[in-house]
């Protein structure tokens, strides 16, 4: 669905002053995938989206979007993708219906009225169709902007910060709608600062700051960065037990935190019973056992730290 090869964008500000926004981005996103693009402010995420939607030209490199080549089929690319820009950019004096019908006409939608009605109803805005958008809440505007991106039924959607600035309720509504779109099999490219959102919605994530630093599924990234860790909650912890557990086969590392043992295991399914048996043998009371799940935020911060991209402001 999206293939990029060393895609690069360098902005020329003044003579001799170049600002690299995106450098050597090589990426492959298959059909039906929800891809999260994470990075700090100014990382080049929006520039990447603008290049992939044919809004700006890359300085070098190649890309195909929906099988269409960037630079050769720009108009066809714009016709085949939907975009939710960082700021909704709606016409505030016009009604919701008018806003969508303008875009439906620009996308050459056949039955404009029916399509506009479909998305206004789907997003719960039909009863407010004649109201000027200026009277809408932030959440309603965001939903309207998403509807605008969908009017021409694009198989590929770019969502730039879809829940940015929304209250929790509105953000949850938008996320649920994105999940619905995911269920329809659309390919979705999401730029987000919200790591929990990315964790919940995305099949794979790319961590990016001018260069692509890591790309994988959240689960694989957790495994790659932290390995698998199991937490054993004990009634009391004798420090002498730690060495005994460390000697067991399959134990990679071990730490004690309060009355808990955090044990890195290559195959917890196989090693957990052995560790539990050993702990019981040592006289420990095992209260709970659970796998430690690092948040995507931990993964993101760790990735940025190890890549040397110190500025991790989201």
């Amino acid at each position: 669905m999206i293939q990029t090869q060393k895609l690069t964008k360098i902005f020329k500000i003044k003579k001799g002053e170049d600002i690299p926004a995106v450098v050597d981005l090589t990426l492959s996103i298959p059909e039906g995938e929800v891809f999260g693009f994470l990075g700090p402010n100014g990382a080049g995420k929006t520039t990447t989206v603008r290049m992939l939607t044919s809004l700006i030209e890359p300085t070098s490199g190649t890309a195909t979007v929906n099988g269409l080549r960037l630079g050769d089929d720009d108009q066809a690319i714009r016709r085949s993708v939907g975009i939710l820009t960082e700021s909704p950019g709606l016409y505030e004096r016009l009604s919701a219906f008018k806003n969508l019908s303008i875009y439906a006409n620009l996308y050459d939608v056949e039955d404009v009225d029916r399509q506009v009605e479909k998305y206004l109803s789907m997003l719960g805005l039909w009863s407010r169709r004649d109201d000027p958008v200026g009277s809408f809440s932030k959440g309603m505007r965001q939903k309207l902007a998403i509807a605008r991106a969908l009017l021409h039924e694009p198989p590929l959607l770019f969502l730039d910060e879809p829940t940015s600035g929304l209250d929790p309720e509105a953000a949850s509504l938008v996320r649920s709608f994105i999940e619905e779109l995911k269920g329809e099999g659309r390919t979705i490219f999401i730029c987000t600062h919200n790591l929990n959102e990315a964790d919940r919605l995305c099949d794979r994530i790319g961590i990016f700051k001018t260069h692509l630093i890591e790309v994988d599924t959240p689960a694989n990234l957790r495994l790659k960065i932290y390995g698998r860790k199991v937490v054993f909650h004990l009634r009391e912890l004798d420090p002498l037990w730690i060495d005994s557990i460390r000697e067991l086969e399959g134990v990679q590392d071990i730490q004690s935190v309060d009355q808990k043992l955090v044990v890195g295991l290559s195959e917890p399914e196989k090693t957990n019973p052995i560790v539990i048996r050993k702990l019981v043998q040592l006289g420990a009371d095992v209260q709970f056992v659970g796998e430690l799940r690092h948040s995507l935020e931990d993964i993101y911060l760790q990735t940025m730290k190890t890549s040397g991209k110190e500025d991790v402001t989201l």
């Binding site: 603008r50 030209e57 975009i83 820009t85 016409y91 004096r93 016009l94 620009l106 996308y107 902007a145």
Partner: protein
Amino acid sequence: MKHIKTIIDKEWAEVFKNRMVLFTMIFLPLIFTVLPLVMLYLTGEGMGDMGGVNTADVPIEFLSQCDEGMTGGECMQIYLINEFLLLFMMMPIIIPVTIAAYSIVGEKTTHSLEPLLATPITTFELLAGKSLAAAIPAIIVGWASFGIFLLALPLIGVSSAVIRYIAGPTWLLAILIAGPLMAVASVNLALYVSSRVNDPRTAEQVAALLLVPLFGLLFAQLAGVIVINVLVMLSFIGGMILLDIAMIYLGVSVFQRENILTRWK
């Protein structure tokens, strides 16, 4: 063509909800139409041939504009009304500047250009749509005001000699040809200025610089340096065509997608 029509439709739907634009479109032409009518009425027959004015009172440079059969009063009337021609010529400048300033700077302030540019619309379609949306109302209002003015002339007792002059080639060239040309220049100047500023009022003020050559004509005529006749009007039209070409080039050169998205702040 469908995309251009959609842009025009959008612009009109949005711009005409703006009271400032409506005020400019209704009030200004009304004043500019009524003022010369009042002047013609006050200097007409009721004044008894303007209190004894004769052709000797008309600036000598202007006498060539008066027909042989005209009275001194009629000759003075066409001299005076020629100054008001410039009011009619201001309309196609002021109205599109107001519309274009709001439609383009407005897109910048509401961040609506990016989603618009992400559609399959071409730059030409977008530019043409915006330009036409601003220029068409100005041209229509200019022509309509002149039409109303012409129709009102006999009603206030203006003589047929004066009406013949007003409906003659100098005025028709000014209203029908120079007006639209000035509207095009005005829209493209507003477009260019809009790419450099963030405030519609600033765009309006800078684009209103186009009024300067008109005032130049007005003062040159008052000072007796030139007389606005067919030749002057044809020269003016020639100059406007060159200016339009320059302005369209300037407008198109700043209206590049990448510039708009990355430099229009």
